[in-house]
């Protein structure tokens, strides 16, 4: 009950933040952190609830970013068909949902392919997938502009009563947009985890042979989870494309996947609040470190920070604090809703 109250308070604080915090820079970095938190939430669905470690998650993020950017800009590409494929610029929201669908499709493909293997092999397949996507983005210049990057991507817009279609360009508008998408994704994942599917996934994580023996269609559920996870990551990528308004092949870089993994694991994988907490810490930490030390020392602190969190809170921050809270308040022995 109390955790739910905490969650609501957090949400209220977050929603009103641009109103009382008159610092556009802070709102800006929260926006870009928020985008990565959404990606981390999607990764958590795979890593936390199915136990499958995808180290190619940036691929879905990048596919979402490129799809949304390309659909909203339009493109014209010759792929060896009799006539070139020409796509006219689409309204941004159509591009956005297109990105979600395309990322989901890639999730399905990778799910089908990669779940033939598990553990370390799965890790490597996903890494390889992201690297190949990066090479494609880098070299298929006709479509992606390669390293020259896609720029001048239009911002997302909403139908604002009285103003017609309004582009979301200010920091606060983008912040609210990201927050809204984030909240939707959070509750989507929360619903999934508590559904039949979620129970099957958790059974799978705990004991795959047992789950198999009682008739859980393992691969089917894993693929479903991957599709949803990829689709959410794609949505995060699309937000990135329309907020940063430039997409280049670096979105597929391994370091982005690493950032997401760090957010999930330090926050507490398999907990709903974990990616949010881990995301806030590791999204804001680089910004907080700016200017405090030489750039490479900031990175060293970041790396050591990861190690320390793992050493002292191996299950992540959220479960550790949840334990603490339960210890202090015996009434809260039941798993708190936000945490479970």
């Amino acid at each position: 009950m109390r955790a739910r109250f905490g969650g609501l308070l957090f949400l209220a604080l977050a929603a009103t933040l641009p109103l009382w915090l008159r610092d556009p820079y802070f709102v800006a970095i929260l926006t870009s952190t928020g985008i990565f938190i959404i990606a981390a939430i999607s990764l958590n669905l795979l890593l936390g609830f199915t136990g499958q470690l995808s180290l190619g998650h940036a691929a879905f993020f990048g596919i979402g970013a490129y799809t949304s950017a390309l659909l909203s800009l339009g493109f014209d590409v010759d792929i060896g068909l009799p006539s070139p494929v020409v796509v006219d610029p689409k309204p941004v929201w159509i591009a956005f949902f297109g990105a979600v669908v395309v990322s989901g499709l890639f999730g399905w493909l990778i799910g089908k392919l990669a779940f033939r293997v598990r553990g370390a092999y799965f890790v490597i397949v996903t890494i390889s997938f992201a690297e190949v996507m990066r090479m494609v983005a880098l070299n298929w210049v006709d479509l992606t502009e390669g390293p020259m990057a896609l720029n001048n991507i239009p911002p997302l817009s909403v139908l604002w009563p009285g103003h017609g279609l309004t582009a979301l360009v200010t920091k606060s508008q983008q912040y609210w947009l990201v927050l809204a998408v984030g909240v939707v994704c959070y509750f989507l994942v929360a619903r999934m985890v508590r559904s039949r599917l979620g129970r099957a996934l958790i059974a799978l994580r705990e004991n795959e042979p047992l789950a198999r023996s009682v008739g859980v269609r393992v691969t089917h559920y894993l693929v479903v989870a991957t599709v949803v996870s990829a689709a959410i990551a794609g949505a995060a990528g699309a937000l990135y494309a329309h907020c940063v308004r430039i997409v280049d092949p670096d979105v597929f870089l391994f370091i982005y996947t690493v950032t997401m993994v760090i957010m999930v694991v330090t926050g507490g994988k398999g907990t709903l609040a974990g990616p949010v907490v881990g995301g806030l810490i590791f999204g804001l930490m680089p910004q907080a470190l700016r200017g405090t030390a030489p750039p490479e020392v900031q990175w060293i602190i970041y790396g050591i920070g990861i190690i320390l969190i793992v050493f002292f809170l191996p299950r992540g921050i959220v479960p550790a604090f949840a334990d603490l809270a339960r210890l202090r308040m015996p009434a809260l022995r039941k798993p708190a809703s936000l945490v479970r």
Binding site: Y25, I29, P147, A149, N151, I246, V276, L280, Q287, F321
Partner: protein, 381 residues
């Protein structure tokens, strides 16, 4: 508990951002100081540091000292945007310098329009930067096209004359752009074009590309990439007995080859925008001398001089514009930049208009120098 963390994070951010009294004029520097292209970004930043010191030693501008606010863009376009927003929103800089690579610069450009802050582009070569209709961009580095056209005037320094050329480029804007522009310019002089090979920026083994180039019967190979790959190309070309003369574009100079010379008789040519070996042959030798002396006083790597001048010239340009504007405000500086004319290390700096009417970007026309590196010795033919 979550609220707690939240507040801690906020507090940390505020602590970092203790605002400073407005007794200095800030100039934002957005350069790659970590990651793949950290070396060049550091050189340019060092050049900018010298520029600020020289200006301050002469009493600053408008009676105030210059303060550089240096941000690392981590060799990554998204971080370049974050760095720009930090400089604009947090430090409230009225003018910025950056962001080295064309990709980073292009990423930052929408933010210039959004917040109305001018950017002095010191390195990026992509043609797109000044023709996309962004009135906040002022570039002092040459486009690949300018470099190619300027190179044509130096064609007679090559003997035997160049008849057919091949290209090896890093597969980004910089490399591809240079290959295309040089091919166009050289073709206009009746020079034939052979093969064009590309490489990823992180590639170290270029033997496959060089083997393909070796098959071509070209007599010159234009190489466009960062200084590290230039060094690798020259070393590996020697190993594979490439017959083409190697000419590098974009201002990269393989300084490591001075101490560790290649095989006897092998020479390479380098298009530079400043040649510290012949600073006396620069257009304004007295300007160049101040820069070189200050750099050497700090005992920084000599090699860094070839890139560091970009930061130096950019700071000087910004300061001159602030002086003309009479106040350190973004739009005033933008307008003043159009009137700015100064003698830089590279040569004359003055902006011409490029891009769609009404939203033109500024572009200066820099000088180009060619040096030859042979058996560890540098000469300017």
């Amino acid at each position: 508990m979550i609220k707690h963390l939240w507040m801690t994070a906020l507090a940390a951010l505020f602590a970092v951002a203790t605002a400073q009294a407005q007794e200095t004029i800030k100039i934002g520097v957005n350069e790659p100081l970590t990651g793949a292209v950290a070396a060049s970004g550091t050189y340019v930043t060092n050049g900018a540091r010298i520029g600020a010191e020289v200006v301050n030693a002469r009493g600053g501008v408008l009676g105030k000292k210059i303060e550089l606010v240096i941000e690392d863009n981590k060799s990554n376009p998204k971080e370049a945007v974050d760095a720009a927003e930090k400089l604009i929103l947090r430090d409230k800089v009225p003018v910025m310098i950056g962001a080295w690579s064309s990709t980073f610069t292009l990423a930052v450009m929408p933010k210039l329009v959004e917040y109305g802050v001018p950017l002095i582009v010191e390195t990026s070569s992509s043609g797109k930067i000044t023709v996309s209709g962004n009135p906040w961009v002022f570039r002092i580095s040459p486009t690949s096209e300018m470099e190619a056209v300027a190179f044509l005037e130096k064609l007679d320094t090559f003997n035997p004359p160049i008849k057919k050329v091949d290209f090896l480029s890093v597969n980004n804007d910089f490399g591809r752009g240079a290959a295309a522009e040089f091919a166009k310019a050289l073709a206009s002089k009746g020079i034939k074009i052979g093969v064009t090979e590309t490489m990823t920026p992180e590639a170290t083994d270029l033997s496959a590309q060089l083997a393909s180039i070796k098959k071509s019967d070209g007599d010159a190979l234009f190489v466009t990439t960062g200084v590290e790959q230039v060094t690798l190309v020259i070393k590996q070309a020697a190993e594979q007995r490439l017959t083409q003369r190697i000419i590098t574009t974009g201002g990269a100079f393989p300084d490591q080859m001075i101490a560790n010379a290649g095989p006897a008789g092998m020479a390479s040519y380098h298009i530079l925008f400043f040649s510290p070996w012949s600073a006396d042959k620069a257009k304004y030798p007295d300007v160049a001398k101040v820069y070189v002396d200050e750099w050497n006083k700090k005992k920084w790597e000599f090699a860094g001089l070839t890139e560091g001048f970009r930061g130096y010239d950019a700071v000087m340009t910004a300061v001159e514009a602030i002086k003309i504007a009479g106040k350190a405000e973004p739009d005033a500086i933008r307008q003043a930049l159009w009137k700015t004319k100064l003698h830089g290390v590279n040569g004359d700096i003055a902006f011409i208009k490029q891009g769609p009417e009404g939203k033109e970007s500024g572009q200066s026309v820099p000088n180009v120098y060619i040096v030859m590196l042979k058996e560890g010795k540098v000469t300017q033919p």
